[in-house]
């Protein structure tokens, strides 16, 4: 292909300029979706709410209605057992035991943090049929704290546990819990915030990043930040028990005066333990601001639908979501239920528009190919594999869980104007391909445990693995959001048939393997070709989209 042609194929496919005119967007709103409920719609819902659409999950939800599916997805799974010592020496936890209740141990802390990372990664990969894990990651981004700064892995576990507890619960309760969360208290210096000369760090982000936001119509004042910082003076951390405490001698007992946005409200200063009531009053005040629900719903929309919000989407989707969020008393499930049942969510306009966040690419690839995952029988190997997966995948692809770059979280979730496009750069695009290559061709191996794609197992998910034409259609429909042209199918078919044209070549190869499942040569004859096929599909630009 010459260069001009190559370029042409790029630009022909897009209007190029990053923002299309308002009139071209989607006009659908939150009326219930009444269209077809086929694999296409189920896969779309699952790709957005879980990490990839596992084939068996698609089949499962095909047997439900959309409202049933949404209700089930909005139900959390069983809480996972806490993370374990898989690494050996730890003053507070024997091998195979959890370290989360032990004392701080500086020499074990890095290993504990890696154990926590492994645990988070495994929870995502072994997720229940629930949106829970996707929401955990959403809130880990929303309340961006970095374990490299707050250091203590026990704080990290507590932080994740707090987020897990509230991720589909009441948002106001969650904000209060996070305000008093030891990891957050340390990360934004709430634990050093003292009367007379308060530290404004948490107060500012409470307004700007966690609740009201800065891009809406309602503006808080700089003085509100200073006054809120005064409200928040006095909270300290009890490191041994990983809890907060309130030291009223460090609390500013003067009155706090807020601006017009808060109707010039005064929070009366209180002494003694009553000083803690001021936090509740502050949160009441913040949650009476209209923009709080709008801000959170925009962020949910960007995460689950698309990052561009034009005037139509704002009016037809965001405002109704925010309304149900408010009237539900800030039940996080309420706007999500409205969104996922809506015709807007299933609007063809929004299909395949989300660039997979790295964890979506990595874990979704595993789940969609029904990959071999390490079991708990060798927990050391299991943790070791998930730790490597989370650490290298996260670092290289710029989404290290527990360590977003700033308190605002990962840039692709908030940086105008590019948002999700920032996941893809000249650094990360080759690495994204390398990671899927790694899964297809090598996997991660520790001892006898393995995290890898077995391509025969992948194909076995589908109804007609012995029928080359049927299975190609099935694979494309499953792994990609949009159909591919017949040119791709010709290539894939040729790879499966070894360059021949008779479809029986594949049928024979496959049946030969199925009749001799323990013969490594028969299996290799199949998987060699399937690896090429999967490599081809994961190399498509379209595979980066969800």
């Amino acid at each position: 292909m010459n260069r001009r042609k190559f370029l042409g194929s790029i630009f022909q496919s897009s209007e190029g300029v990053s923002h299309s005119a308002a009139s071209r967007g989607s006009t659908t709103g939150v009326d219930p979706y009444n269209g077809p409920w086929t694999k296409k719609q189920v896969a779309h819902l699952l790709r957005r709410t879980m990490f990839g659409a596992a084939y068996q999950d698609i089949n499962y939800f095909l047997g439900k209605t959309l409202p049933q599916a949404v209700d089930e997805l909005l139900t959390p799974g069983q809480p996972p057992a806490p993370p374990l010592n898989y690494y050996g020496q730890d003053s507070g936890a024997a091998l195979g035991q959890t370290w989360v209740n032990a004392s701080f141990d500086v020499s074990s802390n890095v290993n504990r943090a890696l154990s926590l990372l492994a645990w988070c990664t495994r929870n995502m990969a072994k997720q229940a049929r629930s949106i829970e894990e996707k929401m955990v990651l959403f809130w880990l981004n929303h309340f961006g704290t970095n374990i490299q700064v707050y250091v203590d892995a026990r704080f990290g576990y507590k932080h994740v546990a707090t987020i897990r507890q509230h991720c589909l619960g009441n948002f106001k309760d969650m904000v209060k819990a996070i305000t008093l969360d030891p990891a957050m208290l340390r990360f934004l210096n709430g634990d050093r915030n003292t009367k007379n000369r308060p530290d404004e760090n948490y107060a500012r982000e409470l307004f700007e990043l966690f609740t009201i936001g800065k891009d809406g119509g309602q503006k808080y004042e700089e003085s509100d930040v200073i006054e809120a910082a005064r409200v928040l003076t006095g909270y300290r951390i009890l490191s041994n028990s990983v809890t907060y405490t309130f030291d009223s001698s460090k609390h500013d007992t003067g009155n706090k005066q807020f601006s017009a946005l808060f109707n010039y409200r005064t929070i009366a200063g209180k002494s003694g333990s009553a000083g803690q009531q001021e936090l509740d009053e502050l949160l009441d005040m913040i949650f009476q601001v209209n923009d709080t629900a709008l801000f959170i719903c925009r962020k949910l929309y960007r995460y689950f639908v698309y990052y561009e919000i034009d005037a139509q989407v704002e009016a037809n989707v965001i405002v109704p979501m925010a309304n149900v969020f408010r009237t539900s008393g800030y039940d996080i499930k309420a706007p999500l239920r409205l969104l996922f049942n809506s015709e807007h969510f299933f609007d063809d306009y929004n299909l395949g528009a989300v660039i997979k966040q790295p964890m979506d690419l990595l874990i979704g690839s595993l789940r969609e190919t029904n990959a071999i995952m390490p079991s708990g029988s060798d927990f050391q190997a299991e943790y070791s594999i998930w730790q490597q997966f989370g650490l290298y995948g996260g670092t290289a692809l710029q989404q290290l869980v527990l360590a977003p770059p700033t308190v605002a979280g990962w840039q692709p979730f908030h940086q105008e104007p590019n948002y999700h496009q920032l996941w893809i750069s000249t650094v990360t695009l080759p690495l994204r391909n390398q990671f899927t290559d790694l899964l297809v061709y090598a996997g991660l191996n520790v001892g006898n445990s393995q995290l890898a794609v077995d391509t025969a197992r992948w194909l076995e998910q589908y109804p007609n693995p012995d029928n080359v034409d049927k299975v190609i259609d099935e694979v494309i429909e499953h792994l990609l959001t949009h159909p591919l042209s017949s040119n791709h199918k010709i290539l894939i078919r040729a790879a499966m048939l070894g360059g021949q044209s008779n479809p029986n070549v594949w049928t024979q190869l496959w049946n030969d393997y199925k009749n001799n499942p323990n013969n490594p040569n028969k299996k290799k004859a199949v998987t060699d070709r399937l690896k090429s096929v999967l490599k081809y599909i994961t190399s498509l630009d379209e595979y980066q989209l969800s």
Binding site: G8, S9, I10, F11, S13, S14, E15, G16, V17, H19, S20, A22, N189, R192, N193, T194, R197, P198, D199, E200, N201, R204, E208, K214, E222, V225, I226, E308, G352, A353, Q388, L391, Y392, T395, A396, Q398, P417, N418, Q421, L422, T426, V427, T428, L429, P430, L431, N433, Q434, D437, Y441, L444, L484, S485, L491, Y536, L540, D541, E542, Q544, L545
Partner: protein, 532 residues
């Protein structure tokens, strides 16, 4: 369809940042175009290195106004640097540097540092994220621009990017940033203009060989098609520029030793790429962690702590970088410049730190700076309250304007109209002797095909747009500064040829608009400035 060759080795060691050990992909086949790239280029091309100090650097503890030491002592006693520890600089007895900055002190005394006092903007914003957006987009405090100031500069310098790039005139990245996520400072009207680079764990530039897949055309204009196009453009950049970067990096060069810090390692890569002969004019590196609300200093020794560590990293890295450039014979071609989203509050807090502030000093380093300190020490109000901040002496866009004019050799009128969008004062920051009559600009600007132009530009009431179509469907449309389409001037099937169409100002606000041309596979975007 060929399978890749994989050489499986052990699982990577725990400390490496990138999982690449498991995979070794065969190198690219050389492309003839890049084989032409031999030998380092002549020293006729100035380079600017941007150093982002992320988090908001405490200017008062970086460049200390010693003439107001007693006021500082009363306003920020718990973070105060002992007077006798402050590093003096030649010629400015009332000003000194943080004790960690001996490297920069030495450079200053050698005449290789320009410090600009109290750089900021009117109506400062105290949000990290908003204020950084203001600095990177060079907007007013109350204005939202979608493009970065460097993106606009690069779009001015290479107006057709990415169409027809790379090419023989510009075979290299327009800008290179160290890091995996593109900085908004390089956001251009069409896309981000920088090439992101990270080394692998063996300190090598990786070259991944993408599988060549069929590319379907998506004609329905919806987000899916837009994102596919974006990913394809990044892939194209990776393939076509990756080799140029790797070739430059792999050229044999002897560097001095750098400290083993993140910033020093980034600058070391930059020096090596410049020495390798890239035509790239802009580089970007970053150092995070300046948000020192708490523990900025140690309780027992205010010359130690988080801020001291950061300034040590900063000073030692910059010092090594410019020494390296000197011995590489590149020192006259390169300047580096810092920026941070804001300074910090005059009054310290009780967490041994400082909250978000406003104006702060900015550094420019290199042989060709006009040495010394520009501006006066900031004046600290003796009775300052927690609300008080340092007012700006210099608008940061004046600094940008001066660098653009005197180092990147952009005519002032173009700076005012298409890059910074307003007239900012020019400051004496760098020697402008390198901006001679012989400019590579013309070459750069005609490097791609010019299929659309406007005259006059800037304009007030009307401009005439001239475009060359290869025939068939042709589209000419106008976008406003927010990136919204406001006008379609031409949309029809036409015979091949050059045509003109007028664009009337129907009362549009001042600003940089864009005219976008689309003809079959080809598209171009050019700035169009409406002025009063």
């Amino acid at each position: 369809m060929k399978r890749r060759q994989f050489i499986k080795t052990s699982v990577p060691a725990v400390t490496v940042p990138l999982l690449l050990n498991g995979l070794r992909i065969r190198a690219f086949a050389e492309s003839p175009q890049l084989e032409a790239l031999t030998g380092a280029r002549g020293n006729n091309d100035n380079v600017l290195v941007l150093i982002e100090l992320n988090g908001g650097n405490d200017g008062l503890n970086t460049v200390l106004p010693l003439d107001q030491y007693s006021t500082m002592a009363s306003l920020r006693s718990n973070v105060l640097i002992p007077e006798n520890k402050v590093l003096p600089v030649n010629g400015y007895p009332g000003t000194g540097l943080h004790p960690s900055m001996s490297g920069i002190q030495q450079m200053f005394n050698e005449g290789k540092v320009r410090i600009v006092q109290s750089v900021g903007y009117p109506n400062p914003d105290f949000s990290h994220f908003r204020s950084m957006d203001i600095w990177t987009s060079a907007s007013n405090s109350n204005e939202y621009l979608r493009t970065g100031w460097m993106g606009r500069y690069l779009n001015y310098e290479y107006p057709n990017y990415p169409y027809d790039y790379p090419n023989n005139v510009m075979p290299d990245p327009l800008a290179i940033q160290i890091g995996g996520i593109n900085s908004p400072v390089f956001m251009g009207p069409y896309m981000n203009m920088s090439y992101a680079l990270l080394l692998d764990e063996n300190n090598q530039v990786q070259n991944y060989s993408f599988l060549n897949t069929i590319k379907d055309n998506y004609t329905v204009q919806k987000p899916f098609a837009k994102e596919v196009a974006y990913i394809r453009q990044v892939k194209k950049n990776t393939i076509e520029l990756g080799n140029a970067v790797k070739n430059a990096y792999d050229k044999p060069v002897t560097q001095i030793s750098y400290p083993d810090t993140d910033l020093a390692n980034q600058l070391k890569i930059v020096a090596r790429l410049i020495a390798g002969g890239l035509k790239t004019k802009i580089y970007w590196v970053s150092l995070f962690g300046f948000d020192t609300h708490a523990s900025q200093v140690e309780d027992t020794d205010t010359t130690k702590g988080m801020h001291a560590d950061l300034l040590q990293i900063f000073s030692d890295a910059v010092s090594a970088f410019h020494k390296d450039l000197q011995q590489l014979g590149l020192a006259d071609r390169v300047i580096s410049m810092t920026y941070s989203e804001f300074g910090r509050r005059i009054i310290s807090n009780f967490s041994m730190g400082t909250d978000h502030g406003a104006a702060a000093p900015l550094f420019i380093f290199g042989n060709k700076v006009i040495p010394g300190i520009l501006g006066n020490n900031p004046t600290l109000p003796a009775n300052a309250t927690v609300n008080d901040n340092l007012p700006m002496q210099y608008d940061f866009r004046s600094v940008y304007a001066s660098i653009l004019q005197d180092w990147l050799c952009v005519p002032k009128s173009d700076i005012d109209t298409v890059i910074l969008l307003k007239n900012f004062q020019t400051l004496p920051l760098v020697q402008n002797s390198s901006c001679t009559a012989v400019s590579i600009r013309e070459l750069n600007q005609s490097a791609g095909l010019n299929l659309i132009s406007a005259y006059p530009n800037p304009f007030t009431t009307r401009t005439t747009i001239r475009y060359t179509t290869a025939g068939n469907h042709t589209l000419v449309e106008i976008y406003n500064p927010m990136g919204q389409q406001i006008k379609t001037l031409v949309e029809k099937d036409m015979a091949a040829g050059t045509y003109e169409v007028d664009f009337e100002n129907e009362g549009f606000a001042e600003g940089t608009y864009y005219v976008r041309f689309q003809n079959g596979a080809v598209q171009q975007v050019k700035p169009l400035v409406i002025a009063k």
